[in-house]
């Protein structure tokens, strides 16, 4: 497997340390919902993290997609509630817009003054009015929305305060989601035309890749818990990990993780090439279905403790379900694959 470079290990360790006990923050955020504590975000931005993927010319670190997946995979199991993965993926889009409005917003994003997120095109499922879906909605200060296509493509930034009429719905991992429609002409235009559209699709690809890396980090965390548990829990006078049925099941989960993580690294190596779109659709589909399947099995193999909220598996499970549903589910991403350029 592709191992993180020593530099990536250092970066990952310092991020993980900065994020600290994300589980505790997620749990207390759940109690205070929808109020959020912005202090940790100030620390994250103060350390410069939102600029990871921003080109050096625009004041960022010029990090690569492989840097991003190594970091997000390593940080996922901290379960920090802050929307760092999404912000990381969006920041380079603002740099690519090449407009004064986007540059100003990028400055606020990098400094931590504003949390800028991007909405997906979509509607509330089962109802048909077209619009946008925003994850981590109650964290956002500014929301980027894309409209139209080709020459008519427009990228606009809308203050989150303008979306307050759209209901904020709570997600199972303690975050929030908003589905909204945008009145014609709303928002501040950041860019338009085909180049802006291409940059937008790259941002969608990065969001998918980042979510896939996070999902595989959650899978790794859940597997580690499960393997430990199989070694210590005894039944019928033996550790349950000595039972062949559970051994084979655990081995299958291990293989699923191997395949999922390999695809994340491979997709990161595709970024910037002609297969970036198909690779990022594939990796999001694969990571979403793998994470859901593996986490379900991990809960089952734990027995009743796996179903208890106070055990560490429960929040991993809920975060995985949320991430699997964001930026294109497995089926949505698979549905796009045929219409994107094919693999060699």
């Amino acid at each position: 497997m592709i191992e993180p470079t020593p530099e990536q290990v250092l970066m990952r360790d310092s991020l993980v340390q900065l994020l600290g006990d994300g589980v505790a923050r997620t749990r207390s955020a759940g109690e205070a919902w929808p109020r959020i504590d912005r202090a940790p975000w100030a620390d994250i931005a103060g350390a410069g993290w939102p600029g990871l993927l921003v080109p050096e010319a625009s004041g960022g670190w010029g990090g690569t997609a492989l840097d991003m997946v190594m970091l997000l995979e390593g940080a996922a199991a901290t379960l920090a509630p802050e929307p760092l993965p999404a912000v990381l993926a969006i920041a380079p889009l603002l740099a690519a817009c090449e407009s004064a409005a986007a540059a100003a917003l990028l400055g606020q994003l990098v400094s931590g003054e504003a949390i800028v997120l991007m909405a997906e095109s979509g509607a509330f499922p089962l109802s048909h009015e077209a619009g946008f879906v925003l994850f981590d909605a109650h964290w956002a200060d500014e929301v980027i929305c894309a409209e139209g296509e080709g020459d008519a493509f427009r990228l606009v930034a809308v203050p989150a305060a303008d979306l307050a009429d759209a209901p904020l719905r709570r997600t199972i991992d303690g975050s929030g989601q908003r589905v909204f429609s945008l009145p014609a002409g709303a928002g501040l235009e950041l860019a338009r035309g085909c180049r802006a559209e291409a940059a937008y699709h790259s941002a969608v690809n990065r969001l998918r890749l980042g979510a896939a890396a996070s999902l595989m980090g959650l899978v790794r965390g859940a597997l580690a818990l499960t393997i430990d548990y199989l070694g210590v829990r005894t039944q019928f006078g033996q550790p349950i990990g000595s039972f062949q049925a559970l051994q084979h099941r655990a081995a299958s989960l291990h293989v699923a993780h191997t395949a999922g993580w390999a695809l994340v690294c491979e997709a990161a190596l595709s970024v910037g090439g002609e297969k970036e779109g198909i690779a990022c659709a594939m990796v999001k589909a694969k990571a979403s279905s793998t994470a859901r399947d593996v986490l379900k099995d991990c809960v089952q193999m734990h027995g009743a403790i796996g179903f208890s909220d106070e055990y560490a598996l429960a929040p991993l499970f809920r975060r995985a379900v949320t991430l699997a549903s964001a930026f294109g589910t497995s089926q949505v991403c698979l549905g796009e694959i045929g219409s994107l350029p094919r693999c060699a």
């Binding site: 393997i227 051994q247 084979h248 081995a251 297969k275 589909a285 045929g338």
Partner: protein
């Protein structure tokens, strides 16, 4: 392969694609079975002359010393054009064994013959009653002066009836613990006392056979490694074998079938079919990624989780062929391939053939047990 290819890699891909298109005879394209030696060896020799028959062998032994990416490019282009499956026991098994454990004489005699396609090898490990429990084998070798006299019975010997030589494990010492009395032998199949009986398979062909040895005299010079020390050779090589078993070549061939079916179906593919094709593409991409990364790791000296790769590779191929069966609809039971929309489409052959994948090289159940023990370090249980 999804990653961005370097200019040199792109040039290599074009070179391979063009050369295959120019050189691979039409009658060897799109075969759904492995052609018999009389049909296949001309192509084998052509690939050998081009220097591409042994991508994973080091250059010192006449191989290509190819990078993992180059190996995958060769597999992808072979699948794209419908190149036939060739005999692999020489290239993937006994070749690497002799490179590591053979004497200079053994290497000089056998390695060029494998590369040139002059000699076809088969493997004599399994016996009736000694499949996954290899150490329980009963074929005996009696040491007499400078010869070993072999009597016994091997089975599930892939391509045994086409092969010229067999490499086999025989018990040469009854008094030692069962893993310590085994010798690794190279046996000329034209030796007196050998009988071969092909076995019909689930896929209705003769891919493997039984081999009977009745007082077969084998020169001592054909022992690989120490007398009674054959077990360590096999175990040392199993991991390498499984990494080659983990190559995406079968899965790519299966995916090519699915792509052809999808093209032939056109709009009739429907939404459900579209999703299944996408799943096949995705699963093969993940396998290819894992193979590339594990091979890269092994090249730099890291342990490679060969059991996991073997499971992934074989079950991905089987999953892709499940999808092919679904797309085939009522044609899924047709025995012979058909020309549909300008392409040869095989509806059942690969599906039948692929049953062997999760059985050979140590069943996938054995591999899961190995992962539980070696990778996950779960408590010892009652495992076979």
């Amino acid at each position: 392969m999804l990653r961005i290819e370097s200019e040199a890699e792109q040039a290599f891909r074009r070179e391979v694609r063009d050369w295959y298109a120019a050189e691979l005879p039409e009658e060897l394209r799109d075969l759904t079975f492995r052609p018999e030696p009389a049909r296949a060896l001309g192509w084998y020799r052509r690939l050998s002359q081009r220097g591409w028959i042994a991508p994973h062998w080091p250059k010192t032994f006449g191989g290509m010393g190819a990078s993992p990416v180059e190996q995958v490019i060769l597999m992808e282009e072979a699948a794209r054009i419908g190149a036939p499956e060739l005999p692999t026991q020489g290239l993937n098994q006994i070749g690497p064994i002799l490179q590591r454990f053979g004497t200079p004489e053994q290497q000089a005699r056998h390695l060029p013959a494998i590369l040139n396609g002059d000699v076809i090898w088969c493997q004599g490990y399994s016996e009736p009653g000694a499949g996954s429990d290899l150490a329980s084998l009963r074929t005996r070798g009696r040491v007499e002066d400078d010869e070993i006299v072999v009597t016994g019975h091997k089975i599930w010997t892939t391509w045994g009836h086409h092969a010229d030589w067999i490499y086999a494990l025989v018990r040469t010492n009854e008094t030692l613990p069962r893993r310590q009395g085994i010798t690794f032998l190279l046996i000329d199949l034209t030796s007196p006392g050998i009988t071969r009986r092909p076995i019909r398979t689930l896929a209705d062909e003769n891919e493997f056979c039984e081999v009977f040895f009745d007082e077969v005299r084998v020169p001592r010079a054909n022992v690989v490694g120490p007398l009674d020390g054959g077990w360590s050779i096999v175990t040392a090589l199993l991991d390498e074998e499984r990494i080659q078993l983990g190559a995406p070549s079968h899965a790519l061939r299966a995916l090519e079938r699915v792509r052809r079916m999808a093209r032939a179906l056109g709009p009739a593919l429907g939404e459900a079919g579209h999703l299944m094709v996408a799943e096949a593409e995705m699963e093969v991409a993940a396998l290819t990624a894992a193979f590339l990364q594990i091979l890269t790791g092994v090249a730099s000296g890291k342990a490679g989780d060969p059991s996991g790769l073997k499971i992934l590779s074989t079950e991905t191929t089987q999953r892709v062929l499940d999808i092919a069966q679904e797309l085939a609809g009522s044609a899924a039971s047709l025995k012979l391939p058909e020309q549909v929309a300008g392409a040869v489409i095989d509806f059942s052959e690969l599906f039948l053939q692929s049953r062997r994948l999760s059985i050979y090289g140590g069943t996938n159940e054995i591999q899961r047990g190995l992962i539980a023990d070696r990778v996950l370090k779960l408590p010892k249980g009652k495992r076979p």
